[in-house]
């Protein structure tokens, strides 16, 4: 029965795609409505809540003072970690991090890290002794499709509004973290044979491979990832990359509008 329902769903999605339609009425490259709140969590030094259709995630930034890695004595560090705990949906189970949650964490992390939006040298307090570690934790509360884009958005929004708690560390007055870029992600899922932007939960259940594209301020690529079974052609990629360009610019603008 588990195999049956998805196969019926796949058929339905294929029929809709043949008529250039989607199951919730959206156009092929139309995203769901979303709201972004920042500075919403006591105790987090930067925070964001993303309500993206029926998907809800929180991101929180914490700083810690630590000793630098021996091979990088004058650099701080950045870590982005997404937890897919059982609260996120009926299908999630307790236990050690699943491959899915590791992939989510690492793809979101790479998008931010590889954009070089954080200058690791500026996180150094005393070379060889004290550097700041920036930890972005993302918490998925309700997964109703496309958590990758929601998590990436929450992460960069929390980071861009983060305040370094310098007083707590006895290193002067609190100050906003410098973040020089706004990398954002656009994800595409093959549904009914063609790629759609921002698949919802049903489309993910009855769809195939996903492509995650993270772009920076000038439309440069900072991270790519193909997930799940399926292949794509170079021409298909060229098409969705173009969609991603305009979509990521929109998302970056939304994030930038939240800053102090």
């Amino acid at each position: 029965m588990v195999a049956l329902v998805p196969s019926l769903l796949r058929q339905e999605l294929a029929n809709l795609a043949a008529q250039d339609q989607r199951i919730d009425g959206r156009a092929q490259f139309e995203a769901r409505e979303l709201t972004l709140e920042t500075d919403c969590l006591y105790n987090a030094e930067g925070s964001a809540k993303v309500t993206w259709g029926d998907t809800i995630i929180y991101a929180g930034v914490k700083f810690e003072m630590r000793t630098p890695w021996p091979d990088r004595p004058a650099q701080g560090s950045l870590m982005c970690s997404a937890e897919l705990r059982p609260i996120a949906g009926r299908k999630y189970e307790p236990g050690p991090p699943s491959p899915e949650s590791i992939e989510l964490s690492r793809v979101v992390d790479r998008g931010i890290r590889e954009s070089n939006c954080i200058d690791m040298d500026k996180l150094c307090i005393i070379p060889g002794e004290k550097v700041l570690g920036v930890m972005i934790d993302i918490h998925v509360l309700s997964d109703q499709g496309n958590i990758f884009d929601a998590c990436a958005l929450g992460a960069i929004a929390a980071l861009r509004t983060a305040i370094v708690p310098a007083e707590r560390f006895d290193i002067g007055e609190d100050y906003p973290l410098t973040v020089s870029m706004t990398p954002t992600m656009a994800s595409f899922t093959r549904v009914g044979g063609r790629y759609v932007l921002d698949a919802n939960e049903e489309e993910e259940l009855g769809g195939d491979e996903r492509i995650h594209i993270t772009l920076g301020d000038e439309g440069h690529l900072h991270s790519l990832q193909k997930g799940l079974r399926g292949t794509l052609t170079p021409a298909e990629f060229a098409e969705i990359l173009e969609v991603a360009q305009s979509r990521c610019a929109e998302l970056a603008e939304l994030v930038n509008s939240k800053e102090a």
């Binding site: 969590l41 987090a44 914490k62 059982p86 609260i87 930890m135 309700s142 997964d143």
Partner: protein, 245 residues
């Protein structure tokens, strides 16, 4: 409890540092039905604490060995988000969370009509997004609302409340400073209609008299929070019926 040192927690006028009276609780705000993926859910802000709870089920209990022939098991996970506290919490195994999850589950099994769902499991996921003392109580309050929102039958609600002692004075609903520098903490899970106790922990130092005062404060607060729970569920019901947001 940290025991009290040089920190003064009660003001000259007998009020507490944040202006509350000794038997006055922090503000509590509750919303039901906040998570679309869940069968039932609740969001509770209690002081600066934020707890979110999702309920899934009743569903088949697996692995098989956790099944009970005569009733449902309630599988609670209480978890603090890494960013919920002043120092980041590392995700993963945590003895404190395991203990709280266990006693919370047992408290909920005391009110849910678990006999109606033999061999099944009800998952209760409590996530603390912001912590300011008293999170196990806030989680319990949220769980009761989320269970009700999921339509799980219960013989009563549960309210999580705590009283404690600071500077040799019994106070209701310790905040962060009072928790850090106070002398005792008595968290309870109270059935507001019957006054039964389903959840009980305590640490610190209390005389029998002080215990009795704590109990009295907790009972009073339970009624107040219960009213807020009911109100949230009513609003949720109206929203569902009225087709609002």
């Amino acid at each position: 409890m940290g025991g009290y040192g040089d920190i003064q927690l009660l003001r000259e006028d007998g009020l507490r540092l944040d202006g509350r009276k000794v038997d006055e609780m922090r503000e509590v705000v509750i919303e039901a039905g906040v998570l679309p993926a869940a069968d039932g859910s609740a969001w509770v802000k209690h002081g600066l604490n934020i707890a979110v709870c999702a309920v899934y089920g009743p569903m088949e209990a697996h692995p098989r060995k956790i099944q009970r022939q005569d009733r449902a098991v309630i599988d609670v996970r209480y978890n603090m988000a890494p960013f919920s506290t002043s120092d980041r919490i590392r995700p993963g195994f945590n003895r404190r969370s395991r203990e709280i999850s266990k006693v919370t589950a047992e408290a909920l099994e005391s009110v849910v009509l678990v006999e109606r769902y033999p061999r099944s499991k009800i998952r209760v996921e409590i996530e603390i997004l912001a912590a300011e003392a008293g999170t196990r109580c806030v989680g319990l309050t949220a769980a009761a609302v989320a269970l009700a929102d999921a339509g799980i039958p219960m013989r009563d609600m549960i309210v999580g409340v705590a009283a404690g002692k600071v500077e040799d004075t019994v106070v209701l609903d310790l905040d962060k400073a009072e928790d850090n520098y106070g002398q005792a903490d008595l968290p309870m899970g109270i059935l507001p209609t019957t006054g039964e106790i389903a959840f009980l922990q305590m640490d610190g130092d209390l005389s029998v008299e002080e215990y009795n005062t704590c109990l009295e404060y907790n009972m009073k607060a339970a009624k107040e929070i219960h009213a807020i729970q009911i109100d949230a569920l009513k609003r949720r019901y109206e929203q569902k019926m009225g087709g609002g947001v």
